[in-house]
């Protein structure tokens, strides 16, 4: 149906972003293709080797309450309560949020930080796209007009890895002024092999602080290294805009503060015993 309707058709998932846009007449699709009856797209199951596979229509609230997500993707679990309000989460879907690509959204940043992959399907076949390659511009993803996001696959967390999610909003449920999803990986000697800071609400989409990552790579994550990485993230990796909620300078300040908090928390988690050890 999607390939037949071309640019006039939109898929309806949770509708928590699309229908408001329609009510404002900002979006005026002539055809809505309702995905809510496709039971096969609603699931949270274990992935290969300890990861996760989540169907694109899975409601935020289901992900929020899933024990499987809490143990296998705690970063995702931690981000969920920040998404809007419970009423929105009861209806909104993981795939819908990820495909909508709001620059202030939590989930795109989380998926990039997790190195998740998305399965896209169309009448022409299917393909996998890494989250980092999926976000290409403001509200713009790699989805072709006839493609549907059907599944999100998150890889297993290796031992000696850590995570943190930080967000500042004026009130619970408000759009983030700045947020960050962080994942860090250590080798057996305690040196950082990779540190990812993926910010939301600082640009057109999830923004990875690559220069900050370079500072931490192959270093011992000391207080000084963390501070330097957070400072670099704020002054070399992001170029935030001003709007009615915050000035650019304040956003930059938050990038540094939240970056420091996130890295500190993530590295602390990376040095804790691995969950699989605790379960034994």
């Amino acid at each position: 149906m999607l390939s037949e309707s071309g640019y006039d058709g939109k898929v309806l998932a949770g509708g928590q972003s699309l229908v408001p846009a329609m009510n404002f007449r900002l979006a005026q699709p002539s055809i809505l293709i309702d995905l809510n009856g496709i039971d096969a797209l609603f699931y949270v199951i274990p992935g290969r080797g300890g990861g996760l596979q989540i169907g694109a229509m899975t409601r935020h609230r289901t992900v929020e309450r899933s024990d499987l997500v809490a143990t296998r993707a705690p970063l995702l679990h931690a981000a969920m309560p920040h998404i809007a309000h419970v009423q929105i989460r009861n209806r909104g879907t993981l795939g819908g949020s990820l495909a909508h690509a709001d620059p202030a959204a939590e989930l795109p940043a989380v998926m990039v930080a997790l190195d998740a992959r998305f399965r896209l399907q169309s009448a022409r076949g299917e393909r996998w796209v890494p989250a980092a390659d999926f976000y290409i511009g403001l509200f713009t993803t790699a989805l072709a007009p006839d493609e549907l996001l059907v599944e999100i696959a998150a890889p297993p967390q290796p031992p000696h890895s850590g995570w943190s999610f930080q967000e500042i909003a004026r009130r619970p449920g408000d759009y983030a002024i700045v947020g960050v999803a962080a994942t860090v990986y250590l080798d057996a000697t305690g040196r950082c092999t990779e540190a990812r800071l993926v910010y939301l609400s600082v640009g057109e989409g999830p923004t990875t602080a690559h220069n900050a990552s370079a500072i931490l790579r192959w270093q011992t994550p000391t207080v000084e290294a963390i501070a330097a990485a957070a400072h670099t993230a704020a002054y070399q990796d992001v170029d935030p805009l001003a709007d009615i909620h915050a000035t650019a300078d304040y956003r930059r300040h938050l990038v540094e503060v939240l970056g420091k908090r996130a890295l500190t928390e993530a590295f602390a988690r990376a040095t804790e015993p691995h969950p699989s050890v605790l379960r034994a």
């Binding site: 509708g15 928590q16 229908v19 408001p20 009510n23 404002f24 809505l32 309702d34 809510n36 609230r61 809007a84 309000h85 419970v86 009423q87 929105i88 009861n90 209806r91 009130r171 619970p172 449920g173």
Partner: protein, 158 residues
Amino acid sequence: MTERTPVTVTVNGIQYERSVEARLLLSDFLRHELNLTGTHVGCEHGSCGACTILLDGAAVRSCILFAVQVNGRAITTVEGLASDQNHLHPLQEAFREKHALQCGFCTPGILLTLIPFLAENAQPTEQAIRTVLSGNICRCTGYQNIVDAVLLAANPLP
């Protein structure tokens, strides 16, 4: 003639059958087709919470759902809370006791948000109450009396 779609939906335990345009919002369906005007429309984009109803027991925004999407489903609106004309729901009693409404515009949405919350959180903290209410805007009360009403409902006096 605009195409119409049949919808069968149970609202507050009563089954209704109507024929509606696909573009009709659930909030407008409840108010105009069923004359259940207790569900209020504030912002029409999902932010204010005044339109919140229960869909199969879960609190959702009726202003960003289409009526055709609830075919075969069960809805609870504020009109479904009181057991009869003389007996309010205990939560409504607590709101009355604690003066938790003034103009009342936000109240239906708040009540319906709280019903599933209290079913799962029998002894909520004040913080938990304030967090669950973050999706409902009240311009009159400043929320304090609403919080007090919820605490009273959770801990009824003997």
